[in-house]
Every structure is written in C-alpha cells, then in structure tokens.
C-alpha cells in the first residue's frame, strides 16, 4: 500500500552539528512533499516543501533533497541549535487529485548543548 515512513525514530546531535532526517515514501505518483516541525504541545509548523520536478530546495539553514529513483526524501539542518529540538514529519501529497498530506510517525530530533 501507499505509505510515508521515517528511517529513524530518534536522532541525537550536538549543537552546531549538521542534522539529516530521512524519509521514505512508496507512492511513485506523489508529486509534492512537505517537512513539518512539531514542538511539544504545539501544532506542526511548515518548514519547507518541494515538488517532484525538483531535486533540491534550500531555505534558511534547511535543505530538502528528493531522490525520486529510490523514493527518498531528506531534511538537512545546518548548524543545529537547541531550538531545533522537536519532532519532524515528512508528508506527501496523496494521489487522486485532492491535496491531502499524509504524515508518517515522525523523527524526534534532540540537540544537546
């Protein structure tokens, strides 16, 4: 079936290091992907998105890479800060026309000072 999943449930890094959070998807018809950050007790916060006609997109300290060949998505955070500690979700656009993001379980990023 179609699914969105994450390789690692928890990622621990030192402050200042770069972080890479990975995500696999199985729906080859997905054409839009989004990364969200969710802090404890808050709603998910939009970070960055990418369409399937792109391989890479950069934002402020974040880069999303899309590898359609192996159906893999990654979020890279440069110079990780304690404020980056949160759960990160990738979401894909479901096939069928309606834009309804489907979320995986998430990866918990823990940044140690």
């Amino acid at each position: 079936g179609e699914s969105v999943g994450l390789h690692l449930p928890t990622l621990s890094v030192q402050e200042g290091d770069n972080s890479i959070i990975n995500c696999a998807y199985s729906n080859s018809a997905s054409d839009y992907f989004i990364w969200y950050k969710q802090e404890s007790g808050k709603g998910p916060q939009f970070i960055i998105d990418i369409r399937s006609n792109m391989d890479k997109r950069q934002g402020q300290r974040v880069t999303v890479l899309l590898n359609k060949t192996v159906k893999h998505l990654s979020l890279q955070i440069a110079a990780t800060q304690p404020g980056d500690s949160a759960v990160y979700f990738c979401a894909e656009k479901r096939s069928g026309g309606s834009y309804i993001p489907t979320f995986g379980r998430g990866t918990s990023l823990i940044v140690h000072p």
């Binding site: 839009y32 969200y36 709603g43 998910p44 939009f46 309804i100 993001p101 979320f103 379980r105």
Partner: protein, 112 residues
C-alpha cells in the same frame, strides 16, 4: 488573525457527551483540514474542505464524527456520544491553492 485559531485548547468531557471543536483558519485560505493526533503518532487525516463543501471526508472514523464549514471560513468538528478512544489532539489546518498546510495549536480532547 495571523494564524489558525482553535478553541477550546483543552476539553474534558464524560463518555457519551457531545463535543464541538472550532477552527478559525487564516483569512483567505480556501482549504481547511481536520486531523487527529494521538501521543507519539503523526497527524491522522479526518476531513478536508474546499470552500464550504467537504471535498473528502474519508478519514472520519465513523458516523459519530461530523464537520461543517457553512460560510467557507470557520469550521466546527462535532463528535457525538464521545468514547474514551476519541481522546486525542484535534488539529485544524488551512492552506491556499494547494500550498503547504498551516496548523493551529490543536484542541486536546480528553474523554473520561
């Protein structure tokens, strides 16, 4: 307002009671979504509105759940005969023309 607003932020009710959760989306956003999130899980899709109509309600778990958006802006999620398994954070999000979703802080529902 500047962001998606959800009320109440917390709701405690007894099993069998009726509950309404309200969502006020970002002004001008035509699409509105309801998701449900249990502890340690990602958001689970419930229903999606485009304007006033429910474009996709395939995520509603059963007929005890219903949502409306009568004027294409504010939406209300209604849960009848609540059960303990309905306890979760109910998230609302809005978007403009298929772009990224912007979420509210959620309404935490606890059914005793």
């Amino acid at each position: 307002g500047a962001g998606v607003s959800q009320t109440p932020s917390n709701k405690v009710t007894e099993k069998g009671k009726y509950v309404e959760l309200r969502c006020d989306p970002i002004s001008g956003h035509t699409a509105l979504y309801w998701y449900r999130q249990s502890l340690g899980q990602g958001p689970e899709f419930l229903i999606y509105f485009q304007g006033t109509g429910a474009a996709d309600d395939s995520g509603l778990p059963n007929d005890r759940f219903f949502a409306v958006r009568p004027e294409g802006s504010v939406s209300t999620l209604k849960i009848q005969r609540t059960e303990r398994g309905d306890s979760a954070v109910y998230l609302c999000a809005s978007s403009f023309k298929g772009g990224g979703l912007f979420f509210g802080e959620g309404s935490r529902l606890t059914v005793l």
